[in-house]
């Protein structure tokens, strides 16, 4: 027996003990069809979005913001609320094809914030699509899809139309949440100006490429509101928030539906829960076309 052969035999035994020999992919069993995924029920990619369209197109919420603006912490907290409560805001969280995508974001919260963009990217993985399956207390089932892209993606949008062209989420989104790091915004005027500058570039490009338009529904979310904890900072935030809001109105052509200041780590925060309730509520059905009720039309015609 040569060394190579012995090594092969050892590998075989190890594989047997680890149970990898004669294995198939768990994702093939059911709805998680991406066999390239590291984990069962991991986050999905944009290209898989149509898999969630069955009898109706689910609500799509896009989280937009640069690195460390708190998007993943935010969505991780929503996920936590849903798994620790039997019923949250009138809905039970009954299933997801992306549980592990959420768990990645929860895990990320335990990581030191310093200079670990690469590590964060590794933990978050490539895919940004997360799904909640919710059942209302009245018994109706609906799905909410959330896109939580890495902040670096939006940094690329500042300078590149090519990157923006690849985005298929924003133009289909029923709600866009634009994130701003409140702590950073209050840090210095220079930081505030940089935030504004970045968003100006991104929104200008998005609008030019038709990814957003005057009909786009959006909210502005100021995260890390707990860090704005002195009177001076609160005053600064109030001024700068108004400027940011105005900037968004000018760039999108519409007013924000809502502006929120949240602390994603405080699950009792009223503003946070209000925003969560908005995200998980089902999409409004398309308005009825009255002519479909032909009997009513006949009756009205003959009155």
């Amino acid at each position: 027996m040569t060394e190579v052969m012995a090594g092969e035999q050892v590998d075989q035994i190890m594989n047997m003990m680890n149970g990898t020999q004669g294995t198939t992919n768990a994702s093939e069993a059911g709805s998680s069809k991406n066999s390239g995924q590291e984990f069962f029920c991991d986050a999905k990619s944009q290209s898989e979005l149509n898999e969630f369209v069955n009898r109706e197109k689910p609500k799509l919420v896009a989280l937009v913001g640069f690195a460390d603006y708190g998007k993943s912490t935010f969505i991780g907290s929503l996920y936590q609320q849903l798994i620790v409560n039997l019923n949250y805001g009138g809905y039970s969280f009954v299933d997801s094809d992306t549980y592990v995508g959420f768990e990645r974001r929860v895990f990320l919260r335990r990581i030191n914030d310093d200079n670990i963009s690469d590590t964060k990217r590794n933990i978050l993985g490539e895919n940004d699509i997360l799904v909640f399956n919710l059942r209302s207390v009245q018994g109706k089932l609906h799905q909410i899809i959330v896109s939580d892209k890495a902040g670096e993606t939006y940094s690329k949008y500042i300078s590149s139309d090519e990157e923006i062209k690849k985005d298929i989420v924003l133009q289909s989104a029923d709600l866009i949440l634009f994130f701003v790091d409140a702590e950073l915004d209050c840090k210095s005027l220079a930081e505030h100006n940089l935030i504004a500058e970045k968003y100006e570039s991104v929104l200008t490009r998005l609008k030019a490429k038709g990814k957003i338009n005057e009909g786009t529904t959006y909210d502005v979310v100021f995260t890390k509101a707990d860090k704005v904890n002195t009177d001076e900072r609160k005053k600064k935030l109030a001024e700068r928030r108004a400027k940011i809001e105005q900037l968004f109105v000018e760039l999108t052509g519409t007013e924000a539906e809502g502006v929120y200041e949240v602390n994603s780590r405080d699950l009792n925060n009223e503003s946070l829960n209000e925003l969560f309730a908005k995200i998980i509520s089902p999409k409004q059905p398309t308005e009825a076309v009255k002519e479909l009720d032909w009997v009513k039309m006949e009756i009205e015609k003959n009155q």
Binding site: M16, M17, N18, G19, T20, Q21, G22, T23, T24, N25, A26, S27, A29, G30, S31, S35, Q37, E38, F39, F40, C41, S77, Q80, L82, I83, V84, N85, L86, S92, F93, V94, D95, Y99, V100, E103, R104, V106, F107, R109, R110, I111, N112, D114, I116, T119, N122, I123, G125, R135, R265, D266, L267
Partner: protein, 273 residues
Amino acid sequence: MDKTNILLAGLPAAGKSTYITALWAVEKDGKSGHMLTCDGLPSESSYIDGMRDNWMVMKEVRRTAFAEPMEIDLPMKSSRTGEKIILSLPDFKGEIYQKILDNSVTEDVKEWCEKSGGILFMLYLGNESPEMLQEQVSEMTEPKVEVEKVVMSTNNISAAIQNVLLLKYLYEEMDDVPIAICFSSWDKVDNSGDKSVEEWVKENHPCIYNYVEEHFSTYRFYGISAQGADYDDLDEEGGDELAVKTTEKKRAFIYTDKVSFDITEPIDFLMLG
């Protein structure tokens, strides 16, 4: 005689092997008067006899070391219907189920999923509660791990969700079969107020409750203590007490809304509904 295949599923340390051991130890002589009792001896019982010996002397049951499951066939008789069956349970290593979460499924698991008519799902979550998770979120200011060592693995997924993922896989593979969800080491669980297990699950593990309730039309929750007590806490007197209970077949127990020493109840439920 008909073979009844029941998939015994659960992550590592869920208590699968201990349950089988206790079942064998209690029902072997066929005299328990429980819903199911052994009706004779299997042709080969060295594996389960070895585990039973440890159980008898309050030593931890040695978990199966092999990737392939030990198939345990027990000739049983139902006291409800008089029917005689061969109860067939696989004793899989827990890591085999955990591998499913890594997107790696063995052919043995697939085969058992295909041929089983019910699931006996074991899980151990200790006294972890939703409130504790909420506190963890708000208290998280200091980093818990060194940056350099960080790699996401299955173990970083919360224990409750790992179990939901396994339930999801089994549901998608086996469709809507009857399922008995058994929380092991029930003797250690804090159930002050003596809530029913179902109420306890709703309160403490709502994500598991919601998943099960949504997908399985025939389900029941159980608390199970196959050991009867925590061996680490046992002194000589405690040990003797447990030995007496063993003889009286009042050591291992299940809990639904009351204690029962008939640990065949979950299997009886899976077979007869």
